[in-house]
Assembly symmetry: C2
């Protein structure tokens, strides 16, 4: 195992201390392992809470700040945060305008956010809405999900819903915007190598050189099938085609997102973006905005995913709105 860590048992704790040291504008509650926007709760603003297993950084803590999340809950590596964390985060960001829970569709995450919502609502009466992302077209049910997995669209949703909340819109509207993003986004990923969970100390799965795992999940869950290694333009086709087959992306502007899985360098992501853009152009899909980089990682997995999201003028304006977080920042 080749990792820059102290101890497999303290990776998440240590990284959260690093986040606290690097980003004094955020508050890190080390007892609850939550990262909170420094000025939370913002009175009159809907609070946005997300979270999930660690190992996907910058998702979610890297997206906490004005214009995006109010708080993120960091579970153990690839393990859902417990309800207590979500309860603490929800209370910390409750500005009396309600709270939106943004949850990737994994059984543990969905259950624990639900339990937390019930607890906080019973105790404080705060209104909570929940949106679940399930954009991964690779598999219907998988190791950790009933239904599809939530992956890359979560980043787009957190940005766009965060902008709507920042404008002071009411909870129902912010949740409505979030559901539109979730409903209009689709993703598909590929792995060139396995990730290695620190506590396990060895690769999660065995992937021989010369093979790709197509439709990989962000925890190393199996995908659709193994395929022989292929040039980038063929791999791009294997990712884009199932997405376009699942939803009609013609006829309106689209946000295109090529995501790195953690160990794939940026030069390769730009090679992939070229191929994805060419395929979309050929298919009559109009890309209005793009994002290229490692935003939803899977520890040290090599590979990438493609996310497309149908947008409209309103969603694009919200995407363009100022944001100030460790990992996404512009206009502020």
């Amino acid at each position: 195992m080749r990792k820059l860590i102290n101890d497999p048992a303290t990776v998440v704790t240590d990284a959260l201390h690093g986040v606290a040291a690097a980003h004094p504008e955020l508050r890190v509650d080390h007892d609850h392992r939550i990262v909170v926007r420094g000025d939370a709760p913002v009175r009159g603003k809907v609070g946005l809470v997300s979270g999930g297993g660690s190992g996907h950084e910058p998702l979610h803590a890297g997206f906490v700040g004005p214009g995006m999340l109010d708080a993120a809950c960091a579970g153990e590596i690839f393990t859902s945060p417990v309800p207590d964390q979500v309860v603490a985060a929800t209370r910390a960001v409750d500005g009396s305008a309600g709270v939106l829970h943004i949850v990737k569709n994994y059984t543990g995450d969905v259950m624990n956010f639900e339990m937390a919502a019930e607890i906080v609502q019973a105790e404080t009466g705060v209104e909570i809405a929940t949106v679940v992302t399930d954009d991964d077209v690779a598999v219907q049910d998988s190791l950790y999900t009933a239904g599809r997995r939530g992956v890359g669209v979560t980043v787009l949703l957190e940005k766009i819903a965060g902008a709507a909340a920042e404008q002071g819109r009411p909870l129902a509207e912010v949740a409505g915007v979030a559901r539109r993003v979730a409903a209009n986004g689709r993703s598909m990923g590929v792995a060139l190598t396995s990730c290695t969970v620190p506590a396990a100390g060895k690769p999660t799965f065995d992937l021989p050189d010369g093979q790709l795992e197509l439709g990989i999940g962000i925890h190393g869950e199996p995908g659709r099938r193994r395929v022989p290694a292929a040039p980038a333009h063929e791999i791009a086709g294997m990712l884009v085609e199932p997405i376009l087959a699942d939803l009609d992306f013609t006829g309106g502007p689209v946000i295109a997102f090529v995501n790195g899985m953690g160990a794939t360098p940026l030069i390769e992501l730009y090679v992939m973006y070229r191929e994805v853009a060419a395929l979309l152009d050929a298919a009559g899909v109009a890309v209005a905005r793009s994002l290229v980089g490692p935003y939803v990682t899977s520890l040290d997995m090599a590979g990438c995913s493609v996310t497309l999201c149908r947008a409209d003028d309103e969603l694009l304006r919200l995407w363009d709105a100022p944001v100030r977080t460790p990992a996404l920042r512009w206009g502020a």
Copy 2:
């Protein structure tokens, strides 16, 4: 070799097409392999040109835009750009206020930028100043350098000098600011794995599991020594101590930068940042700003580097000034 590429021979070309597709606000001259700010030349503004071998993305093309570079020249993988590229970039950004060349200290880069400067000056009379970065304390001379190698401080310099140029300062002042950053920055890196150059198809060097290459260069050049794998806090010590031994960082504000080498995920970089911050605190070094992420990569090498730069109020103000590039963006 596990890479998302089409062909080892077209990686740089393909990636530049990806940059063009993803960032319509930039101009990519595919004949010269240069990336230019869309509104260049900006009349009355000093133009900033950098460049170097590819494989270090986002350095340098990812730093082109308002508040940072005006143009970047992309050499082949780990190979200096040729003088023609630098000539084309210099001409493209000449706004009649002079041009600053920012060059990492590698023999080929220094020579080719020098030749280009002579050619352009002879042909157009434009005034050109050059600043060379040589911040890597690991080795005095190395495989590709006389003197120290230029690494992480290049990012800080491009940001800070870019802000000075954006304010309309004359060439001598912009070059002076750039030289202050170069003189006050020091770096040291470590590799956990080798990188693999696409055209070679196999790792540049052999690094057995359980060993680290301390003082690694960004092209896989040998470092100071091999050491046994160690916990993050010990590795942080091995990087920070030689930096602090080389220059006194107490007594003023410092910019601290933990850089990923390409295949190391963000969670590990934050673990490292925690340890670096603790060591600096113990040594009486006051961190005023930080940067954590993969900004000067070495293809798919796993590892990281630490860069410290002594600053002052002026340099911090320039660091904080608005910037709008693919890889660094805030306030704009």
